[in-house]
Symmetry: C2
Subunit: 334 residues, 2 copies
């Protein structure tokens, strides 16, 4: 029975065993198998205090950093750590810069549920984006929970945006990000509309975290199916609460699915069939289309949340980033 | 261990209860609840003989026909039963024909796993397609298994195509279909390429059945999640076998995912996040993109296989058919 007194029937889905499918590349199949072999987060093991969060973050970020040397060897680049409008950032220059795009810039907002992947761990997706686009990428090391809950991340993104558009034509700048970084990409543009500031030329929120209330259908359908973000009810809900703080998870700058997408720039959204944020992505895509935004949806077979970043040796990862780069090529001006 | 001697780890997904989500319209939520309340097909109840198939088909088609009066009252139209090149067909004329599109035509290939929805049950999707496009639709009542296995359906589609292009500019004709009808849409165009015949101007295969071998990841992930096509291992595999016959399920005109999509016309593909053919749809989309085809992917929150046809009173159904109609508007000539 719901609020309106209607009775609904629930669906019982039996336990199942999922095999790494033969319908993907050998590299992605190996990644899917490795994820299945990785230890799970315990239901009752989520951090309860700021110190416990910091310990959790340190462990997770160390894993992300361990991948960095492999990533660097396959995708040569230079990193220049800097401060933009008081916000720490890293300027990523790919091994091969496309001179035809010298007047353009990409801004990356990293993922990690607004708690993970800060500092040196913030550049993974930015490095891949720089490689596939041949463009310089500013990886924003925005402030995060538990020390800096909402709206610190949005404020930092806006501050960097103001500084960037003092130097670049706004329509020549693209913004991209995964998961929380995808949600923050959308929240940034909602905030820019509110402030009456110019908008970016194009957006690429990938598997964006758009609904921190947990209502999306795929939180249930893909629970424990997704090998990376396996359960909203453990890690997801805890991150949402510690990030949202007093604003609450329904605030449109926390959960951009509740925002108004009218007037948004052209947007490409990427997800996978095993992604726990499949619905967060699909719902944002549909809301954008309903608002008249030029939007494209890209879905990859058997991919879990953000797996295109971690399975960076797979052809599927190359397709995902190449599609995003081609979309920026088409829509950024200058 | 697979053929190459590699060891893969499988993922164990616990049993779960899926609630009709609040993230869809009230009409779609009601449809999802009704599907959950419907009786399931028994694992061991699949037809084993031609007579058993015919009894199964009669029961299923009676259910489809029971919806016809409601559909007719909401989407006024006329039906003219006819024969085209020896193939039974029904010409559907919507209540409001768009005079600007008088030189254009749509061909619909109905769904039903190559066994169901023949005869008077073959017009449901065609009526909705005619309504939302304002165009005349030829609903092809192609021959089906068990009496007429592959290649009868493909042969009938080709015969109708030859007759249609004697009267219409091929680039002014669009072909659409759901499930087996979506697979048959793709198989028709593969066959037309083989025959060196002109191709349609645009295609709309929705939740197309492209892999009858059962390899797609969503056959496992969305088993018993999908409220309409709940299990490949019961009904799906049985229909695949009785349709494919001696050609086998890997034949590219039976499972078009194994075909070559290069040179295909612009194509829009539609699916849902609970769809057991989510992967069949996504894989076809990716293969088309890889072949350089102009393709678009549309995914709907919490929708099961082909639910846009049955939940025809939902705004989501209107969006799905309107997207297809707009795609035909953009890509058909004349």
């Amino acid at each position: 029975m719901d609020d309106a007194g209607q009775t609904f029937t629930h669906r019982q889905v039996p336990a199942k065993t999922l095999h790494p499918p033969t319908t993907v590349s050998p590299q992605l199949r190996r990644s899917i198998s490795n994820l299945a072999a990785a230890p799970r987060l315990a239901m009752d093991g989520m951090p309860q205090t700021a110190d416990a969060w910091r310990a959790f973050v340190a462990t997770a970020d160390a894993q992300a950093l361990a991948l960095a040397p492999i990533l660097a060897s396959q995708f040569p680049h230079t990193v220049n750590k800097t401060t933009i409008a008081g916000v720490t950032a890293r300027e990523i220059t790919p091994g091969t810069l496309d001179p035809a795009k010298a007047g353009r810039l990409l801004i990356n907002l990293h993922g990690g549920g607004y708690v993970l992947n800060g500092g040196e761990a913030s550049t993974g997706e930015a490095i891949l984006g720089a490689h596939y686009s041949g463009m310089k990428v500013i990886a924003v090391d925005y402030r995060m929970a538990p020390d800096h809950p909402f709206p610190a991340a949005v404020d930092d993104a806006v501050a960097v945006w103001r500084a960037v558009i003092a130097e670049y034509e706004p329509a020549s700048v693209g913004v991209f990000g995964t998961s929380a970084g995808g949600g923050l990409t959308l929240a940034l543009v909602l905030k820019l509309k509110e402030l009456g500031l110019p908008l970016p030329g194009a957006l690429a929120p990938s598997t964006p975290w758009t609904d921190l209330t947990g209502a999306s259908d795929s939180y249930a359908v893909n629970a424990e199916v997704d090998g990376i973000f396996s359960s909203f009810d453990t890690i997801g809900r805890a991150m949402a609460a510690v990030y949202a703080g007093e604003a609450g998870v329904s605030h449109p700058l926390v959960s951009p699915i509740f925002g108004d997408f009218s007037g948004f720039p052209p947007t490409i959204l990427t997800t996978g069939t095993r992604d726990i944020l499949l619905s967060d992505t699909v719902r944002a895509y549909r809301a954008m289309r309903a608002a008249g935004v030029e939007a494209r949806l890209e879905v990859h077979e058997a991919m879990s949340h953000a797996e295109y970043i971690y399975a960076f040796d797979s052809p599927e990862s190359a397709v995902a980033f190449s599609d995003i780069a081609a979309f920026f090529d088409r829509h950024l001006v200058g």
